[in-house]
């Protein structure tokens, strides 16, 4: 069950330009959190910003959580100024975790930019729960935006790099790297990143006949499935305008369910 917890910031440091890693003491939330779920962080006391900010769990420790985030606007800029020792209010865990299916022999995590955020926790879960070591396709604009490479290496993962400008790894999109890998039928693909990137990854998976899970983003108010603000359209019953709530039905979805042209 989700809860609201006052959490002490242990660490909050820049890991790449405009990207930060924060570790907070959150025994209650951490005790229930699973990879793929997220939390809602109160950025500042008072009414500005008005809403909490959704953030995935990068790592889930026994008593604490790690959050990897990019400064996008006012809220994340304020977060970047949190200092160790400060107490912040966090609501979570929210949403559904990545399903962990033992029937797959190969697990491929496809990350675009800050979309890598939920994957260290996922890799750890796949290793710990399924006893498999996932591979990672790590894509970003350029070399210095490739995050978590060391973490994945430490976990024993093979990491394929790709950058838009060719400054590291292949000069290619993540989806193209996946296509070239051409994984066999036993593989499971997980993707998280910009919408266009996830859409392309889903196309590749459907071409290759692979299942694909995507972790989506949307502007959120409640994070709890209440406000119906965070919906994305699905392909089931398009006429009727069917949709799912990213916060409550996801954020992880079967990528084939999402109407990528409608988002």
């Amino acid at each position: 069950m989700p809860r609201i917890e006052d959490c002490e910031v242990h660490l909050n440091q820049e890991v790449a330009e405009d990207h930060y890693r924060m570790v907070v003491h959150a025994p209650g939330i951490a005790g229930e959190a699973r990879a793929g779920q997220f939390c809602m962080i109160e950025v500042q006391e008072g009414l500005y910003p008005f809403l909490r900010r959704p953030m995935s769990f990068e790592r889930i420790y026994p008593d604490s959580l790690s959050i990897l985030y990019k400064v996008e606007g006012k809220g994340t800029r304020m977060m970047s100024r949190f200092s160790p020792g400060q107490t912040i209010s966090i609501q979570g865990p929210l949403g559904k975790p990545f399903p962990l299916d033992p029937h797959h022999d190969r697990h491929i995590l496809v990350a675009g930019g800050i979309g890598v955020a939920p994957f260290p926790a996922l890799a750890e879960a796949i290793i710990g729960t399924l006893g498999r070591t996932p591979e990672v396709i790590l894509a970003a604009r350029s070399e210095n935006h490739l995050l978590c490479e060391d973490e994945f290496h430490e976990m024993g993962c093979t990491v394929h790099l790709a950058t838009d400008d060719g400054s590291a790894g292949d000069k290619a999109f993540a989806s193209e790297v996946l296509r070239r890998l051409n994984p066999g039928p036993g593989a499971m693909v997980y993707c998280c990143g910009p919408m266009v990137m996830m859409k392309a990854t889903q196309r590749v998976c459907s071409d290759l006949g692979l299942p694909c899970l995507a972790s989506l983003e949307a502007e959120m108010a409640c994070g709890d499935g209440v406000c119906l603000g965070c919906v994305v359209p699905t392909v089931t019953d398009r006429e009727a305008g069917s949709s799912v709530r990213v916060c409550h039905d996801g954020p992880v979805f079967d990528a084939g369910l999402i109407d990528w042209d409608g988002v």
Binding site: L47, F50, A218, A221, G225, V226, C227, C230, S243
Partner: protein, 317 residues
């Protein structure tokens, strides 16, 4: 001595809202609490004076395309478009939870014409789906903003308010509340029309119309372009409308608009609201409504007020 006896007694928060007895004056804004299940994870929802459910229509509604919401300074814009499961699914899947937990239910309804509203009220009453009806005549998000000029709500036309209210009134014996729009020149007119039509209370207010444009993409921030502004940003406007209506009508008022805590709620009560609803702030703080209840009890005790009803309209001029 009297002083001592007074403060030692628990103040009474119970109210009678146009025939609906509530154990405290605090409900939630329709559409900000769904049907209660989610927030029951955070607190016992039966502690609320009543649960007001998301607007129900006869058929399920898919709502508007995303993006449907955007944060604004001390508030938010939404254009959900009354997405809801529809009456049947509500009665089958949602209502039982609320009943099982002993909640008092305010059934908020939305229809395309007076008859649909009447049908919704009739069926909610017949099937025990609500203890009172709140007719939403003021949702700004069910129109095509591109082609509408101003916004065209039932609640903006007193004659229509009266006609809709009368039709619903004839369909149900449940306490009937009519939810009005802040987008009017004189709220007293709309409130008087609801009263004349047989409403037992008016709900003030729904969201203000507003919009946002992303300067980088030059596109509207909401797919429906225009949305409803809610949250603390609009509170001063809402308090003023409650005060205006309270001086004109005899029936009670459910005040809402940006309530975050008991002190905010007291502003509405002192302005003339008998009950209050906590809306958007619940998204920030799920148990906000419970804190308001506790805070009102505290307030009464501190001010040696035996019954909260003594404070309604109690602003000192």
């Amino acid at each position: 001595m009297t002083e001592d006896t007074r403060t030692s007694k628990q103040p009474t928060l119970q109210i009678n809202l146009g025939g609906l007895v509530m154990k405290n004056p605090v409900t939630v804004g329709s559409g900000t609490f769904a049907y209660g299940e989610e927030y029951h994870q955070y607190f016992d929802v039966s502690r609320l004076g009543a649960v007001t459910v998301k607007s129900l229509s006869l058929e399920p509604r898919p709502g508007n395309k995303p993006p449907r919401l955007v944060e604004t300074p001390a508030g938010m814009l939404n254009a959900i478009g009354l997405q809801n499961v529809g009456l049947d699914a509500y009665l089958r899947e949602k209502m039982p939870f609320l009943r099982a937990h002993g909640c008092t239910i305010i059934g908020n309804i939305y229809g395309h014409n007076p008859e649909e509203y009447a049908e919704l009220a009739r069926r909610l009453e017949a099937e025990g789906g609500a203890d009172a009806i709140e007719a939403n005549l003021s949702c700004p998000n069910v129109h095509d903003a591109k082609n509408a000029r101003g916004c065209q709500l039932v609640a903006q036309d007193p004659a229509l308010v009266r006609r809709y209210t009368e039709t619903i009134r004839n369909a149900t014996g449940l306490p009937l509340f009519v939810k009005l729009s802040p987008n009017v020149i004189d709220i007293a007119e709309s409130a008087l029309a609801a009263e004349a039509g047989g409403a037992n209370a008016v709900s003030l207010v729904n969201t203000l119309t507003g919009m946002g444009i992303d300067p980088e993409t030059r596109r509207p921030m909401l797919s429906n372009i225009v949305g409803g502004l809610s949250g603390p940003a609009i509170r001063p406007v809402a308090v003023k409308l409650v005060w205006d209506a309270a001086r004109a009508i005899q029936i009670p008022i459910i005040g809402m608009g940006g309530i975050c805590n008991a002190s905010d709620a007291m502003q509405f009560i002192l302005a003339g609201a008998t009950a209050v609803a906590v809306g958007s702030y619940t998204f920030r703080q799920p148990d906000a409504a419970i804190r308001v209840i506790d805070g009102l009890e505290d307030y009464c005790a501190r001010h040696h007020v035996e019954r909260i009803t003594q404070l309604v309209g109690g602003m000192q001029l």
